[in-house]
Assembly symmetry: C2
Homo-oligomer: 214 residues x 2
Protein backbone atom coordinates (compact mmCIF):
# COMPACT_ATOMS: atom_id res chain seq x y z
CA UNK A 1 0.00 0.00 0.00
CA UNK A 2 2.90 2.29 0.67
CA UNK A 3 3.90 2.16 -2.94
CA UNK A 4 3.10 4.84 -5.46
CA UNK A 5 6.75 5.73 -5.95
CA UNK A 6 5.98 5.77 -9.67
CA UNK A 7 3.26 8.40 -9.34
CA UNK A 8 3.99 11.40 -11.55
CA UNK A 9 5.08 14.67 -9.98
CA UNK A 10 1.80 16.55 -10.66
CA UNK A 11 -0.01 13.78 -8.75
CA UNK A 12 2.31 14.29 -5.78
CA UNK A 13 1.62 18.03 -5.91
CA UNK A 14 -2.12 17.32 -5.80
CA UNK A 15 -1.74 14.86 -2.89
CA UNK A 16 -0.63 17.78 -0.76
CA UNK A 17 -3.84 19.60 -1.68
CA UNK A 18 -5.99 16.54 -0.97
CA UNK A 19 -4.36 16.16 2.41
CA UNK A 20 -5.03 19.80 3.26
CA UNK A 21 -8.66 19.40 2.14
CA UNK A 22 -9.09 16.21 4.22
CA UNK A 23 -7.61 17.79 7.33
CA UNK A 24 -9.97 20.78 6.96
CA UNK A 25 -12.94 18.40 6.49
CA UNK A 26 -11.85 16.42 9.53
CA UNK A 27 -11.80 19.60 11.62
CA UNK A 28 -15.35 20.32 10.43
CA UNK A 29 -16.38 16.86 11.61
CA UNK A 30 -16.92 15.29 8.17
CA UNK A 31 -16.51 11.50 8.21
CA UNK A 32 -16.68 10.79 4.49
CA UNK A 33 -16.06 12.80 1.34
CA UNK A 34 -16.93 11.81 -2.20
CA UNK A 35 -14.57 12.66 -5.04
CA UNK A 36 -17.22 15.24 -6.02
CA UNK A 37 -16.94 16.80 -2.53
CA UNK A 38 -13.17 16.93 -2.97
CA UNK A 39 -13.69 18.57 -6.36
CA UNK A 40 -15.80 21.32 -4.75
CA UNK A 41 -13.14 21.94 -2.10
CA UNK A 42 -10.02 21.76 -4.29
CA UNK A 43 -11.22 22.61 -7.82
CA UNK A 44 -9.55 19.38 -8.95
CA UNK A 45 -11.96 17.29 -11.06
CA UNK A 46 -13.47 14.25 -9.36
CA UNK A 47 -12.07 12.02 -12.12
CA UNK A 48 -8.57 13.33 -11.47
CA UNK A 49 -9.06 12.81 -7.71
CA UNK A 50 -10.02 9.16 -8.21
CA UNK A 51 -7.15 8.59 -10.64
CA UNK A 52 -4.56 10.23 -8.37
CA UNK A 53 -5.64 8.30 -5.29
CA UNK A 54 -5.74 5.02 -7.22
CA UNK A 55 -1.94 5.19 -7.56
CA UNK A 56 -1.71 4.42 -3.87
CA UNK A 57 -4.36 1.75 -3.49
CA UNK A 58 -8.11 1.50 -3.24
CA UNK A 59 -9.18 4.09 -0.70
CA UNK A 60 -12.78 4.86 -1.65
CA UNK A 61 -15.93 2.77 -1.50
CA UNK A 62 -18.44 3.19 -4.35
CA UNK A 63 -21.49 5.08 -3.12
CA UNK A 64 -19.87 5.89 0.23
CA UNK A 65 -16.87 7.95 -0.76
CA UNK A 66 -13.60 8.24 1.10
CA UNK A 67 -13.35 7.81 4.86
CA UNK A 68 -11.77 11.12 5.83
CA UNK A 69 -9.62 10.26 8.85
CA UNK A 70 -8.05 7.04 7.48
CA UNK A 71 -7.38 8.60 4.09
CA UNK A 72 -5.78 11.67 5.70
CA UNK A 73 -3.51 9.54 7.82
CA UNK A 74 -2.61 7.32 4.87
CA UNK A 75 -1.76 10.31 2.66
CA UNK A 76 0.29 11.86 5.47
CA UNK A 77 2.21 8.61 5.79
CA UNK A 78 2.80 8.32 2.04
CA UNK A 79 4.08 11.88 1.94
CA UNK A 80 6.07 11.48 5.17
CA UNK A 81 4.05 14.23 6.71
CA UNK A 82 3.10 12.09 9.70
CA UNK A 83 6.17 13.32 11.61
CA UNK A 84 7.86 16.65 12.24
CA UNK A 85 10.42 17.41 9.55
CA UNK A 86 13.44 19.54 10.42
CA UNK A 87 14.37 22.18 7.86
CA UNK A 88 17.42 24.39 7.32
CA UNK A 89 17.38 27.81 5.65
CA UNK A 90 20.26 29.64 3.99
CA UNK A 91 19.89 33.38 3.51
CA UNK A 92 18.80 35.67 6.34
CA UNK A 93 17.63 38.64 4.25
CA UNK A 94 14.05 39.83 3.85
CA UNK A 95 12.97 36.66 2.06
CA UNK A 96 14.65 34.37 4.59
CA UNK A 97 13.09 36.38 7.41
CA UNK A 98 9.66 36.04 5.79
CA UNK A 99 10.12 32.29 5.40
CA UNK A 100 11.41 31.84 8.95
CA UNK A 101 8.46 33.78 10.31
CA UNK A 102 5.83 31.98 8.27
CA UNK A 103 3.49 30.31 10.76
CA UNK A 104 2.20 27.83 8.19
CA UNK A 105 5.56 26.06 8.30
CA UNK A 106 5.21 24.82 11.84
CA UNK A 107 1.47 24.24 11.46
CA UNK A 108 2.28 21.86 8.62
CA UNK A 109 4.89 19.95 10.61
CA UNK A 110 8.04 21.68 9.39
CA UNK A 111 10.43 22.78 12.07
CA UNK A 112 13.05 25.32 11.11
CA UNK A 113 16.09 24.30 13.14
CA UNK A 114 18.99 26.16 11.52
CA UNK A 115 19.52 29.41 9.61
CA UNK A 116 22.82 30.11 7.85
CA UNK A 117 24.30 33.14 6.15
CA UNK A 118 27.75 34.17 4.95
CA UNK A 119 27.38 37.83 5.92
CA UNK A 120 29.39 38.58 9.06
CA UNK A 121 27.04 41.44 9.95
CA UNK A 122 24.22 38.88 10.21
CA UNK A 123 25.99 35.88 11.76
CA UNK A 124 25.26 35.68 15.48
CA UNK A 125 22.11 37.80 15.24
CA UNK A 126 18.73 36.22 15.79
CA UNK A 127 16.04 35.67 13.22
CA UNK A 128 12.90 35.07 15.25
CA UNK A 129 14.12 32.53 17.80
CA UNK A 130 17.12 31.16 15.89
CA UNK A 131 20.70 32.36 15.91
CA UNK A 132 22.06 32.93 12.40
CA UNK A 133 25.01 30.57 11.90
CA UNK A 134 28.09 30.97 9.72
CA UNK A 135 27.53 28.93 6.57
CA UNK A 136 31.07 27.57 6.98
CA UNK A 137 29.80 25.67 10.01
CA UNK A 138 27.02 23.89 8.12
CA UNK A 139 28.87 20.55 7.71
CA UNK A 140 29.68 20.35 11.43
CA UNK A 141 26.26 21.50 12.62
CA UNK A 142 24.37 19.27 10.22
CA UNK A 143 26.48 16.23 11.10
CA UNK A 144 24.69 16.53 14.46
CA UNK A 145 21.29 17.65 13.23
CA UNK A 146 20.93 15.46 10.15
CA UNK A 147 18.58 17.89 8.40
CA UNK A 148 17.59 16.63 4.94
CA UNK A 149 15.39 19.52 3.78
CA UNK A 150 17.01 22.81 2.74
CA UNK A 151 15.57 26.14 1.66
CA UNK A 152 17.74 28.53 -0.36
CA UNK A 153 16.76 32.19 0.01
CA UNK A 154 19.90 33.86 -1.31
CA UNK A 155 20.57 36.05 -4.35
CA UNK A 156 21.20 34.16 -7.59
CA UNK A 157 25.03 34.21 -7.58
CA UNK A 158 25.19 32.32 -4.26
CA UNK A 159 22.60 29.67 -5.15
CA UNK A 160 24.88 26.98 -6.60
CA UNK A 161 27.49 27.30 -3.87
CA UNK A 162 24.80 26.99 -1.22
CA UNK A 163 23.30 23.95 -2.96
CA UNK A 164 26.74 22.28 -3.10
CA UNK A 165 27.25 22.90 0.60
CA UNK A 166 23.80 21.57 1.42
CA UNK A 167 24.29 18.41 -0.62
CA UNK A 168 27.68 17.66 0.92
CA UNK A 169 26.18 18.26 4.38
CA UNK A 170 23.46 15.65 3.82
CA UNK A 171 20.51 17.63 2.45
CA UNK A 172 18.40 15.51 0.09
CA UNK A 173 15.65 17.86 -1.07
CA UNK A 174 15.98 21.59 -1.79
CA UNK A 175 13.42 24.34 -2.18
CA UNK A 176 15.22 26.99 -4.21
CA UNK A 177 14.08 30.60 -4.12
CA UNK A 178 17.29 31.90 -5.70
CA UNK A 179 16.65 32.71 -9.36
CA UNK A 180 19.23 30.29 -10.72
CA UNK A 181 19.04 26.74 -12.04
CA UNK A 182 20.88 24.43 -9.66
CA UNK A 183 23.00 21.51 -10.70
CA UNK A 184 22.76 18.68 -8.14
CA UNK A 185 23.43 14.92 -8.02
CA UNK A 186 20.56 12.90 -9.42
CA UNK A 187 19.49 11.55 -6.01
CA UNK A 188 18.81 15.10 -4.81
CA UNK A 189 15.45 16.68 -5.70
CA UNK A 190 15.12 20.44 -6.27
CA UNK A 191 11.99 22.52 -6.64
CA UNK A 192 12.41 26.06 -7.90
CA UNK A 193 10.30 29.01 -6.85
CA UNK A 194 11.18 31.74 -9.29
CA UNK A 195 9.23 34.95 -8.84
CA UNK A 196 10.33 36.40 -12.18
CA UNK A 197 9.49 33.24 -14.08
CA UNK A 198 6.06 33.08 -12.44
CA UNK A 199 5.35 36.67 -13.47
CA UNK A 200 6.65 36.00 -16.97
CA UNK A 201 4.29 33.06 -17.32
CA UNK A 202 1.38 35.18 -16.12
CA UNK A 203 2.23 37.91 -18.63
CA UNK A 204 1.49 35.48 -21.42
CA UNK A 205 -2.11 35.38 -20.21
CA UNK A 206 -2.64 39.14 -20.15
CA UNK A 207 -5.44 40.24 -22.44
CA UNK A 208 -4.27 41.68 -25.77
CA UNK A 209 -5.30 45.29 -25.33
CA UNK A 210 -2.33 46.98 -26.93
CA UNK A 211 -1.11 46.45 -30.46
CA UNK A 212 1.76 44.01 -30.51
CA UNK A 213 4.65 44.96 -32.71
CA UNK A 214 6.41 41.94 -34.21
Amino acid sequence: MLSGRAAPEPTIARLALYLRCLLAAQQEGAETLSSADIEVRTSISSGQVRKDLSYFGEFGKPGLGYAVAPLASRLASIMRLDRTQPVMLVGAGNLGTAIAGYSGLRESGFHLVAVYDNNFSKIGRRIWDLEIQDIERMPAINAEMGVQIGIIATPAPAGQDVADRMVSSGVRVILNFSPTRLSVPKEVVVRNVDLTQELQILCYYLPATESVTP
Copy 2:
Protein backbone atom coordinates in the same frame (compact mmCIF):
# COMPACT_ATOMS: atom_id res chain seq x y z
CA MET B 1 3.25 33.65 -36.15
CA LEU B 2 2.03 35.32 -33.02
CA SER B 3 -0.32 32.48 -32.35
CA GLY B 4 0.40 29.71 -29.90
CA ARG B 5 -2.51 30.64 -27.62
CA ALA B 6 -3.27 26.93 -27.46
CA ALA B 7 0.17 26.01 -26.13
CA PRO B 8 -0.13 24.10 -22.85
CA GLU B 9 0.85 25.80 -19.60
CA PRO B 10 4.07 23.78 -19.05
CA THR B 11 5.24 24.96 -22.49
CA ILE B 12 4.62 28.56 -21.46
CA ALA B 13 6.61 27.97 -18.28
CA ARG B 14 9.52 26.63 -20.34
CA LEU B 15 9.34 29.58 -22.79
CA ALA B 16 10.37 31.83 -19.90
CA LEU B 17 13.42 29.61 -19.37
CA TYR B 18 14.29 29.58 -23.08
CA LEU B 19 14.06 33.34 -23.17
CA ARG B 20 16.39 33.67 -20.19
CA CYS B 21 18.83 31.22 -21.80
CA LEU B 22 18.75 33.12 -25.11
CA LEU B 23 19.32 36.48 -23.45
CA ALA B 24 22.32 35.05 -21.58
CA ALA B 25 23.69 33.56 -24.82
CA GLN B 26 23.16 36.89 -26.57
CA GLN B 27 25.18 38.67 -23.86
CA GLU B 28 27.96 36.14 -24.40
CA GLY B 29 27.94 36.99 -28.10
CA ALA B 30 26.44 33.71 -29.38
CA GLU B 31 24.64 34.10 -32.71
CA THR B 32 23.08 30.67 -33.01
CA LEU B 33 22.13 27.92 -30.58
CA SER B 34 21.10 24.38 -31.42
CA SER B 35 18.38 22.65 -29.44
CA ALA B 36 21.24 20.57 -27.95
CA ASP B 37 22.95 23.79 -26.80
CA ILE B 38 19.69 24.88 -25.21
CA GLU B 39 19.45 21.47 -23.51
CA VAL B 40 22.92 21.98 -21.97
CA ARG B 41 21.96 25.42 -20.69
CA THR B 42 18.44 24.67 -19.42
CA SER B 43 18.42 20.90 -18.71
CA ILE B 44 15.33 20.69 -20.93
CA SER B 45 15.70 17.92 -23.53
CA SER B 46 16.43 19.04 -27.08
CA GLY B 47 13.33 17.18 -28.29
CA GLN B 48 11.18 19.10 -25.84
CA VAL B 49 12.82 22.37 -26.91
CA ARG B 50 11.99 21.72 -30.58
CA LYS B 51 8.43 20.68 -29.73
CA ASP B 52 7.79 23.70 -27.51
CA LEU B 53 9.12 26.19 -30.04
CA SER B 54 7.19 24.55 -32.87
CA TYR B 55 3.94 25.74 -31.25
CA PHE B 56 4.88 29.25 -32.25
CA GLY B 57 6.19 28.70 -35.78
CA GLU B 58 9.33 27.48 -37.46
CA PHE B 59 12.20 29.22 -35.76
CA GLY B 60 15.12 26.87 -36.30
CA LYS B 61 17.03 25.90 -39.43
CA PRO B 62 18.18 22.27 -39.69
CA GLY B 63 21.93 22.08 -39.23
CA LEU B 64 22.19 25.74 -38.25
CA GLY B 65 20.10 25.93 -35.11
CA TYR B 66 18.20 28.90 -33.82
CA ALA B 67 19.26 32.49 -34.52
CA VAL B 68 19.61 33.81 -30.99
CA ALA B 69 18.64 37.48 -31.30
CA PRO B 70 15.54 37.04 -33.51
CA LEU B 71 14.29 34.10 -31.44
CA ALA B 72 14.78 36.02 -28.19
CA SER B 73 12.85 38.99 -29.52
CA ARG B 74 10.10 36.76 -30.89
CA LEU B 75 9.70 34.92 -27.59
CA ALA B 76 9.68 38.22 -25.69
CA SER B 77 6.94 39.46 -27.98
CA ILE B 78 4.88 36.26 -27.63
CA MET B 79 5.16 36.48 -23.85
CA ARG B 80 4.54 40.26 -23.81
CA LEU B 81 7.92 40.74 -22.22
CA ASP B 82 9.03 43.21 -24.87
CA ARG B 83 7.69 46.10 -22.78
CA THR B 84 7.79 47.17 -19.15
CA GLN B 85 4.90 45.67 -17.19
CA PRO B 86 3.54 47.55 -14.18
CA VAL B 87 2.82 45.42 -11.11
CA MET B 88 0.93 45.99 -7.86
CA LEU B 89 1.67 44.27 -4.57
CA VAL B 90 -0.65 43.76 -1.61
CA GLY B 91 0.93 42.99 1.75
CA ALA B 92 3.83 45.02 3.13
CA GLY B 93 5.18 42.48 5.62
CA ASN B 94 8.49 40.63 5.39
CA LEU B 95 7.46 38.75 2.27
CA GLY B 96 6.12 41.85 0.55
CA THR B 97 9.29 43.73 1.49
CA ALA B 98 11.41 40.91 0.05
CA ILE B 99 9.42 40.95 -3.18
CA ALA B 100 9.51 44.73 -3.49
CA GLY B 101 13.28 44.72 -2.97
CA TYR B 102 14.00 41.93 -5.41
CA SER B 103 16.23 43.40 -8.10
CA GLY B 104 15.35 40.66 -10.58
CA LEU B 105 11.89 42.16 -10.95
CA ARG B 106 13.04 45.34 -12.63
CA GLU B 107 15.81 43.56 -14.52
CA SER B 108 13.11 41.40 -16.09
CA GLY B 109 10.95 44.34 -17.08
CA PHE B 110 8.52 44.36 -14.16
CA HIS B 111 7.98 47.71 -12.53
CA LEU B 112 6.41 47.72 -9.09
CA VAL B 113 4.22 50.82 -9.11
CA ALA B 114 1.91 50.35 -6.11
CA VAL B 115 2.02 48.65 -2.71
CA TYR B 116 -1.15 48.29 -0.63
CA ASP B 117 -1.83 47.14 2.91
CA ASN B 118 -4.80 47.35 5.29
CA ASN B 119 -2.67 47.89 8.41
CA PHE B 120 -2.87 51.50 9.53
CA SER B 121 0.54 51.26 11.16
CA LYS B 122 2.02 50.54 7.70
CA ILE B 123 -0.06 52.81 5.44
CA GLY B 124 1.88 55.97 4.61
CA ARG B 125 5.27 54.42 5.36
CA ARG B 126 7.71 53.67 2.58
CA ILE B 127 8.74 50.26 1.34
CA TRP B 128 11.90 50.92 -0.63
CA ASP B 129 10.87 53.89 -2.81
CA LEU B 130 7.10 53.39 -2.70
CA GLU B 131 4.57 54.74 -0.23
CA ILE B 132 2.32 52.03 1.18
CA GLN B 133 -1.27 52.83 0.18
CA ASP B 134 -4.51 52.02 1.96
CA ILE B 135 -6.04 49.01 0.20
CA GLU B 136 -9.39 50.85 0.26
CA ARG B 137 -7.91 53.24 -2.27
CA MET B 138 -6.99 50.52 -4.78
CA PRO B 139 -10.01 51.05 -7.11
CA ALA B 140 -9.35 54.79 -7.37
CA ILE B 141 -5.59 54.49 -7.76
CA ASN B 142 -5.79 51.66 -10.25
CA ALA B 143 -8.40 53.45 -12.34
CA GLU B 144 -5.52 55.84 -13.09
CA MET B 145 -2.70 53.31 -13.24
CA GLY B 146 -4.43 50.46 -15.06
CA VAL B 147 -2.17 47.79 -13.52
CA GLN B 148 -3.17 44.31 -14.68
CA ILE B 149 -0.62 42.22 -12.73
CA GLY B 150 -1.10 41.72 -8.99
CA ILE B 151 1.01 39.98 -6.35
CA ILE B 152 -0.65 38.85 -3.12
CA ALA B 153 1.75 38.60 -0.17
CA THR B 154 -0.73 38.53 2.71
CA PRO B 155 -1.59 35.89 5.29
CA ALA B 156 -4.12 33.26 4.16
CA PRO B 157 -7.29 34.77 5.66
CA ALA B 158 -6.88 37.98 3.62
CA GLY B 159 -6.11 36.30 0.30
CA GLN B 160 -9.62 36.01 -1.16
CA ASP B 161 -10.63 39.53 -0.16
CA VAL B 162 -7.48 40.91 -1.76
CA ALA B 163 -8.09 38.89 -4.93
CA ASP B 164 -11.68 40.20 -5.15
CA ARG B 165 -10.44 43.77 -4.78
CA MET B 166 -7.76 43.24 -7.40
CA VAL B 167 -10.19 41.73 -9.90
CA SER B 168 -12.73 44.53 -9.47
CA SER B 169 -9.92 47.06 -9.86
CA GLY B 170 -8.88 45.64 -13.23
CA VAL B 171 -6.15 43.11 -12.39
CA ARG B 172 -6.12 40.22 -14.87
CA VAL B 173 -3.33 37.94 -13.63
CA ILE B 174 -2.43 37.22 -10.01
CA LEU B 175 0.63 35.72 -8.41
CA ASN B 176 -0.62 34.41 -5.08
CA PHE B 177 1.80 33.83 -2.19
CA SER B 178 -0.99 33.57 0.39
CA PRO B 179 -1.54 29.91 1.29
CA THR B 180 -5.16 29.82 0.19
CA ARG B 181 -6.89 28.74 -3.00
CA LEU B 182 -8.43 31.77 -4.68
CA SER B 183 -11.75 31.82 -6.45
CA VAL B 184 -11.67 34.22 -9.41
CA PRO B 185 -13.66 34.79 -12.63
CA LYS B 186 -12.58 32.49 -15.43
CA GLU B 187 -10.92 35.26 -17.45
CA VAL B 188 -8.50 35.90 -14.57
CA VAL B 189 -5.40 33.69 -14.29
CA VAL B 190 -3.87 32.83 -10.91
CA ARG B 191 -0.57 31.16 -10.14
CA ASN B 192 -0.04 29.97 -6.58
CA VAL B 193 3.29 29.95 -4.80
CA ASP B 194 2.71 27.87 -1.70
CA LEU B 195 5.77 27.34 0.46
CA THR B 196 4.15 24.63 2.56
CA GLN B 197 2.89 22.73 -0.44
CA GLU B 198 6.32 22.89 -2.08
CA LEU B 199 7.93 21.47 1.06
CA GLN B 200 5.27 18.79 1.31
CA ILE B 201 5.94 17.72 -2.26
CA LEU B 202 9.67 17.56 -1.54
CA CYS B 203 9.08 15.45 1.56
CA TYR B 204 7.69 12.71 -0.64
CA TYR B 205 11.12 12.44 -2.25
CA LEU B 206 13.07 12.09 0.99
CA PRO B 207 14.97 8.81 1.21
CA ALA B 208 13.29 6.16 3.35
CA THR B 209 15.77 5.94 6.21
CA GLU B 210 13.35 5.55 9.09
CA SER B 211 10.81 2.81 9.44
CA VAL B 212 7.42 3.98 8.27
CA THR B 213 4.50 2.91 10.39
CA PRO B 214 1.38 2.34 8.34
